[in-house]
């Protein structure tokens, strides 16, 4: 009897807390819309205007523009930037994640917090902001872009890598440790076999993210095709903007297709 009363009470409390969350979300939505002065009734016109805009300004896209050698070179530049940044970023992420995992970090006292700090910082700052910062430090061009993309890659993949390490089974790690292996041996034989498959999946996913980012860092002058997008947008050449955006969509779709097959191959 008494037990069932407390069970019912607990369920009532749960129901109440769910209602509270719902209510607070509603209130928050209303407050934000009000604060930002969003006039919901204008949404009706949005689609109408969008239609007109597409018909008159973005269509037809200036496809000739994206076949010009100068622009094509910037597309190649973009791909190379993304590849370099993803490669370096992943190579740095692997040892960094090892340092930043609480269960097997080889230097739990100093290395762990430092690695965590590095990952969190890379992550906290958006890749466009990194790009702005490094354009100011090393000047316009691909170098700033590669550094910015590398940092955003590290922030993304090192965190996911570390999370994988933190969920491994401790048994094999102990077995390797007990045989007198060095910290590197413990990592290569105790940790790596357990995270390898997941790490490959994460690496492919990271490539998608870095590649998408590489198409826009040029907006702030950090190399790649983003610069052309900005110029076209600034000069209100909507047909060119349309062509470039179409190309980005196509490239990202290709890259995701490639990732899809790579993932399938590795996961069997």
């Amino acid at each position: 009897m008494i037990a069932s009363v407390s069970v019912v009470r607990a369920r009532q409390l749960r129901l109440l807390s769910r209602f509270t969350v719902l209510l607070l979300s509603g209130v928050g939505l209303w407050m934000s819309l009000n604060y930002l002065n969003v006039h919901v009734e204008r949404f009706e016109q949005l689609f109408q205007r969008l239609g007109v805009l597409f018909a008159n300004r973005y269509y037809p896209p200036d496809l000739e523009y994206i076949t010009r050698p100068g622009f094509l070179k910037s597309v190649l530049e973009t791909i190379h930037m993304a590849f370099l940044a993803a490669l370096i970023g992943l190579l740095v992420s692997a040892p960094l994640a090892w340092l930043a995992s609480f269960n097997v970090s080889p230097f739990p006292k100093m290395g762990y917090p430092l690695a965590r700090l590095l990952i969190t910082t890379s992550r906290a700052i958006h890749e466009m902001i990194w790009a702005i910062i490094f354009v100011m430090i090393v000047g316009y061009g691909v170098l700033a872009g590669v550094i910015a993309l590398t940092l955003s890659c590290i922030g993304f993949s090192a965190k996911l890598f570390a999370e994988e390490i933190e969920s491994i089974a401790p048994g094999p790690v102990e077995a390797v440790k007990a045989s007198g292996a060095s910290p590197l041996g413990v990592f290569l034989f105790g940790v790596l076999p357990q995270v390898k498959t997941a790490w490959i999946g994460i690496s492919i996913y990271t490539w998608d993210v870095v590649f998408r980012a590489s198409t826009v860092v040029g907006f702030v002058g950090a190399g790649g095709m983003g610069w052309y997008l900005r110029r076209a947008a600034d000069q209100l050449q909507s047909d060119r903007v349309a062509a470039i955006v179409l190309l980005i969509v196509a490239l990202v779709a290709c890259s995701e297709l490639f990732s899809f097959y790579a993932r399938k191959r590795f996961h069997g």
């Binding site: 390797v176 045989s179 041996g185």
Partner: protein, 260 residues
Amino acid sequence: MGHAVNPSPILAISDLKVRYPGTAVDVLRGVELTVGKQELVAVIGASGSGKSTLIRCINRLVEPTSGTIRLLDAEVTALRGAALRRARKRMGMIFQEFNLIDRYKVLDNVLAGRLGHYSALRCFFSLYPRDAIDRAVRLLERVGLGDFLDTRADALSGGQRQRVGIARAIFQGPELLLVDEPTSSLDPRIASEIMGLIRDIAQEQGVAALCNIHDVALARRFASRVVALKDGRKVYDGTFDHLDQERLAWIYAEPSRGHS
């Protein structure tokens, strides 16, 4: 009950105390233990009596709070870094859950037992010396897995996995085997096969072994000397002759903490 003092013990533990960080009670409360060369010692005791803690202290997977652990000439409790790894190299460990590298082949699992001897990168690229590979193969044949060299470890049955664990520990070339409940995950028939294998192979290789088993009947069949732990204290050390039902019932009774 007193065991004859071994003239040159391979392992000598004295006044060993362990308290896990963040807890309020000692799990081991002053354990004394010596193990002679080539001796097989069974450690029995109720679940939670501290058997695993004792074994894991000896190779410092668990940090002792106080006391000394001597492995021949080395004072294990004082070692750090490379010196600790050298001491660990001399102790092979066998686990209840086998703790193999699942994705690796059987042979590679055994070869990894030499990780303390060769550099990690050398092992990673599988550049083991020819005679080391021969020795690993012979050991696998000895434990009855000659046909499974290229099988992935996670494709084996429990008993086969433990055989790999035994081969790995022996391949390491230890002077002492630390064995923690090697048969608790196996069914009874396989369990006694595995215990027999551990006893025989330890004898052949001239290795001493300290083996946790909570199953007294099994311990009686394979060990000549038994050490009993109760609430973190050694309460028996000797042959099975003086270990009568009454005493066993007391050893396995509910823990009586707080009477220290």
